[in-house]
């Protein structure tokens, strides 16, 4: 592998023999829950699943809820096309995830925790269960009243949406709920719930290990810390990389692309497509284009029509189907670009479809429908010729 120019970080997969995850847990619970929350807030950690909600606040809100029953849930329903980091984390450093969950449970006062692993990762379950059993035993030995359980999905992208995930865990169709109430108030079993992405939970335990300062020192003002990126597409070095947030896209492309990149899809199918001419001005992070980690590179041999078509087909099938803008909107977008391609609709129809995505963006019930506008508009605007002809 080439020497990377970008600042590579080794927090997530690194292993501190002197301070293993359970040691971090032991060390952390010597502090008060409120001071752990302050550390989280101070670190600037935002959710790594894509939405970027400040983790410390999420924990604080849930802690403040008055309820005898609360839950910690690890969202391992990693389904965003182009994202594969959570699988790697669960495979390689599950102890860190478990420690993060236990710390969270300590902070908010939860007795049960769940890891919801997507069905596509069923092969992970056996190994993971062993680690969970060991960890649960360690907690038992410490007389800690917190137990972690595994739950698995069965092939439904939308279950990565937190309220859909709760529905699924409750034995129902994975249909997102109306918000409010938010999970911090009424999540799993309608009880206050912290639901964090796999990677986020690892960072929480790492922040407890190394202190918020070291974490904060990485990244930029708006995007503190580092992030695990899943790099795929037209790159000779596809894989998983932990990098500082706030980097320039042009640096990323220089590092990872094959020299012929014409576009990068940041944030998966639901993210944004950045064309070559905007590589220079694009920052990866909350101040620019945020991502759950997916970085997919397309070189000049690729048809952006096919890319968009794939994405739309994906959303059409994976929409839960309950709300009109998403269920029907996705089908209209997919059939719409096909009709334009075939000449059955004029090129100007793409403008009608763009307006439709703007409605989806503000009127769909959940993030799935709301985000279809991102790939649609960014691909259609930047690669109009490829879509039409």
């Amino acid at each position: 592998m080439e020497q990377l120019q970008l600042k590579k970080v080794d927090i997530i997969f690194g292993w501190d023999e002197k301070l293993t995850p359970i040691d971090v847990y032991d060390k952390t619970i010597k502090k008060s829950p409120d001071s752990v929350i302050l550390d989280m807030i101070d670190s600037g950690l935002k959710g790594r699943g894509g939405a970027g909600f400040p983790t410390g606040l999420k924990w604080k809100f849930t802690r403040n809820e008055d309820s005898a029953e609360k839950y910690v849930i690890c969202n391992a329903d990693e389904g965003e096309p182009g994202t594969f980091k959570d699988r790697e984390i669960l495979d390689r450093v599950p102890e860190k995830v478990l420690a993060g969950m236990a710390i969270c449970a300590y902070v908010i006062g939860a007795k049960e925790g769940y890891i919801y692993v997507r069905g596509e990762y069923n092969f992970l379950l056996k190994g993971l269960q062993k680690k969970v059993d060991i960890f649960n035993k360690q907690l038992q030995e410490r007389k800690v009243d917190f137990t972690i359980y595994l739950r698995s999905g069965s092939g439904a992208y939308v279950c990565g949406e937190e309220s859909a995930l709760f529905e699924s865990m409750e034995g129902k169709r994975g249909e997102p709920r109306n918000k409010p109430p938010y999970p911090t108030v009424a999540g799993y079993n309608s009880k206050p719930t912290v639901i964090n992405n796999v990677e986020t939970l690892v960072y929480t335990s790492e922040i407890c290990r190394m202190g918020p300062e070291k974490f904060k020192a990485l990244g930029t003002f708006d995007s503190r810390g580092s992030k695990v990126f899943s790099v795929s597409g037209d790159t000779p070095i596809a894989g998983i990389y932990e990098l500082e947030l706030g980097m320039q896209l042009k640096d990323f492309v220089e590092e990872f692309a094959d020299g012929d990149a014409k576009a990068v899809q940041i944030g998966g199918a639901s993210g944004h497509c950045v064309p070559r001419k905007k590589f220079n001005e694009t920052v990866i992070g909350f101040e620019g284009i945020p991502t759950g980690g997916s970085m997919m590179i397309f070189n000049s041999t690729r048809s952006m029509y096919n890319v968009l078509h794939d994405y739309l087909e994906f959303f059409t099938e994976e929409s839960c189907g309950q709300c009109t803008p998403c269920r029907v909107g996705c089908q209209q977008l997919l059939k719409g670009i096909e009709a334009v391609k075939k000449g059955e609709k004029p090129p100007s129809y793409l403008e009608d479809l763009k307006k439709l995505t703007l409605t989806m963006k503000i009127a769909a019930k959940c993030g799935l429908g709301q985000s279809v506008a991102n790939p649609f508009i960014s691909i259609v605007d930047n690669f109009k010729e490829e879509i039409i002809y």
Partner: protein
């Protein structure tokens, strides 16, 4: 009592009769029987005091909880963008030829079902396929054939 009913009783025993147990029970049946038969869904509905339509509605939401008969081995080839870019079509083509079925179909001997799947989470190692719960990244047409041959040889 039939095997299916026994299986469901075992699963109910293990996971409980709450609605919250529905997913693990459905998954337990599928892992044994590959799909949810009418008999299975009715038995589950009875045990959990749900309507059969409700069980069917829930199961059919999830791609992996098939409600139509499937073969003993289910092959799912990822069809999403990065696997598409790495020639998943070629993989599907050789599997169709080898198994003499089209995507969505099951072989006459009920040993194989060939399906496509949305992103399986191996975009850096596409094309990828699942056979049952096992994952096979970076498959080539040749490797795909060999993998299936292995399953054919196995006495199942």
């Amino acid at each position: 009592m039939t095997n299916t009913e026994n299986l469901i009783l075992d699963l109910v025993e293990k996971h409980g009769r709450e609605r919250n147990s529905l997913m693990p029970i459905l998954q337990g049946v599928v892992s044994q029987e590959k799909f949810l038969s009418e008999e299975a869904m009715i038995a589950i509905a009875r045990e959990l005091d749900l309507s059969a339509a409700d069980v069917y509605g829930t199961a059919s939401f999830y791609t992996f909880l098939d409600t139509v008969p499937r073969g003993k081995n289910i092959i799912r080839v990822c069809k999403t963008i990065s696997c598409h870019m790495r020639n998943k079509d070629e993989i599907i083509g050789v599997l169709e030829d080898q198994l003499k079925i089209k995507v969505g179909e099951t072989t006459h001997d009920k040993r194989f079902t060939l399906l496509t799947a949305n992103c399986l989470g191996w975009c850096h190692k596409g094309p990828v396929m699942l056979v049952n719960d096992e994952v096979y990244p970076e498959v080539t047409p040749q490797k795909a054939i060999e993998i299936v041959e292995e399953f054919m040889k196995k006495n199942n």
